[in-house]
């Protein structure tokens, strides 16, 4: 396939689309990571839950997109809420490794819960005609959904950044993510803020499930795992403990993934996940706290 300018632009757009998904996921994971030093592996599964709930809602509650979207967001938030109360809260103060292992267990639980209650098979997602309209920009074909995804990615990220600077609870989330001890000293109800952060992040993750389904047309119960891991890579690259950094990292990973897949010979197509990890290793070796990150001990 010849590499034309159009081709590169299409790959860039795809990169921005996927980057938006990673950025939104990274946002959610970053705050929780800062607070609890926990990589919430289960975060990826919330995406999957969001996608399936949207599908179910559309099929069963009358094909009204807004209602289905609300159901998606609620479902996402609920998963986050239950995760915190049932699992993570009971491990407060335990060593990092315990949290890590538990979040892995939570991921497997959620993925298989969906498998058992819904289906194990990949499912075609709903086609929403409005989002599939193609249009032509200087000879490049773009779908409406691409624009919608990129815009919502930027919009939600921006909203979150503003929220963390202006709203009292937002500032509390930011402060707690930076230093949980100091936050409790100034009177922040840390338990409640943690729940808030998890729920917010999960709501956003649920939304990205909807976005993913619409963009890629197919969902399956296992889709969440690699997403969660890549979101963590995005945090590492963009900057641990930095909300804008998480967003930046998401877009960088997305672009890197699509551009390398697009520009390398097709035989390397299967390595797209590997490329992301390659970036992780480089980042960890060269600049462990990320581009915009706050210094924390990554090395022992």
């Amino acid at each position: 396939m010849s590499i034309t300018a159009e081709y590169v632009v299409i790959q860039v757009i795809n990169g921005l689309v996927i980057g938006s998904v990673y950025a939104l996921l990274a946002l959610g994971m970053n705050t929780v990571y800062g607070m609890l030093k926990l990589i919430n592996f289960a975060h990826g599964s919330v995406v999957m839950v969001g996608a399936y709930v949207f599908l179910l809602a559309m099929l069963n509650l009358g094909s009204v997109t807004p209602i289905a979207l609300v159901a998606t967001l609620v479902a996402g938030g609920l998963v986050g809420y239950v995760l915190e109360l049932a699992a993570y809260r009971r491990l407060r103060g335990k060593p990092e490794v315990s949290l890590l292992i538990t979040s892995l267990g939570a991921y497997i639980f959620i993925e298989n819960f969906v498998r058992v209650t819904l289906t194990s098979q990949p499912r075609p997602f709903l086609v929403i005609p409005e989002l599939n309209i193609l249009f032509d920009v200087y000879g490049i074909t773009i779908r409406v959904v691409d624009i919608v995804v990129i815009l919502s990615g930027i919009a939600i990220s921006a909203a979150f950044v503003i929220y963390s600077k202006r709203a009292k609870s937002g500032i509390a989330i930011k402060a707690t993510a930076e230093n949980i001890r100091a936050a409790s000293l100034v009177g922040v109800n840390v338990d409640r803020i943690i729940v808030l952060a998890l729920v917010l992040g999960s709501v956003i993750a649920g939304f990205t499930g909807f976005v993913w389904g619409v963009k890629f047309g197919q969902i399956d119960p296992g889709m969440g795992f690699i997403l969660g891991v890549k979101a963590f890579v995005a945090i590492v690259v963009g900057g641990i403990g930095s909300i804008p950094g998480a967003v930046l990292g998401g877009y960088i990973i997305g672009l890197a993934e699509m551009l390398s897949v697009g520009l390398l010979p097709p035989v390397y197509g299967g390595y797209r996940d590997g490329i992301v990890f390659f970036i992780l290793i480089i980042a960890l070796l060269v600049r462990p706290y990320g581009i915009l990150g706050v210094k924390e001990s990554v090395r022992v």
Partner: protein, 233 residues
């Protein structure tokens, strides 16, 4: 009138029994110092009063209210504030944001609180939009104290104010502490430099291996030769 009373408080870290039957009484409006060697349990005491640690037995009474089982944020609401050892600022936030966070549980007017802090530490007003991480050591300590004041506390606790600071900076800080006290805030402080502590405090409790060994007026302590030898070298 007693503001804070500890009655036979016992605290353990894992298997280590660090506070043994500690009983303290802090009168309203006074400045009280906790002195003792490293590891005696001074910071532990402050943390226990703040709620970062829970006692295994004993009572902690704030104006006759037993707060021993309350979580930290509720104690801030009730009027206790801790300026921790090492400051623990939010370094990625600005000076103003740090102060505003200090008022998270404030029982009164935030603007008024800001004005008060700016009066005591004018430099904080000057640098209000700078990130806390860019301040000098002395300024960071001022910010930490200012943040502690923002919740309009009845009791302000200071842990090792002098850590890492030049003597002239420390002297001025303690002058401001006296000022804060004269505004009606009761102060409980832990300070390595016993001479500093005794200069500013009204009373001092001695802590040794988790036990209270004495309670004396600081002017009496300053005159006592044996104490002077033990703590002041």
């Amino acid at each position: 009138m007693t503001l804070l009373r500890l009655e036979k408080v016992n605290v353990s870290y894992d298997a280590l029994h660090v506070l043994r039957d500690v009983s303290l009484e802090i009168e309203k409006g006074t400045i009280v110092a906790l002195i003792g060697l490293n590891g005696a349990g001074k910071t532990t005491t402050l943390k226990t009063i703040m709620g970062a640690l829970r006692p295994t037995s004993g009572r902690i009474l704030l104006e006759d209210d037993d707060i021993a089982q309350l979580p930290s944020h509720r104690r801030v609401e009730k009027g206790i504030s801790l300026v921790p050892e090492g400051r623990e600022l939010f370094y990625t936030l600005t000076v103003k944001e740090n102060l505003l966070l200090g008022a998270y549980a404030r029982r009164g007017d935030v603007e008024q609180g800001l004005r008060r802090v700016h009066e005591l530490f004018p430099i904080l007003k000057e640098r209000q939009n700078q990130h806390a991480g860019t301040l000098s050591g002395g300024e960071q300590q001022m910010l930490a104290v200012g943040r502690g004041l923002m919740s309009d506390p009845k009791l302000l606790m200071l842990d090792e104010l002098s850590l890492g600071l030049a003597p002239s900076v420390v002297d001025r800080l303690y002058e401001t502490v006296s000022q804060i006290n004269s505004q009606g805030v009761t102060i409980l402080l832990v300070e390595q430099h016993v001479d500093l502590a005794l200069k500013v405090a009204d009373f001092a409790y001695g802590l040794e291996m988790g036990e209270v060994t004495f309670r004396r007026r600081s002017q009496d302590l300053l005159k006592d030769e044996t104490i002077k030898k033990a703590y002041l070298g």
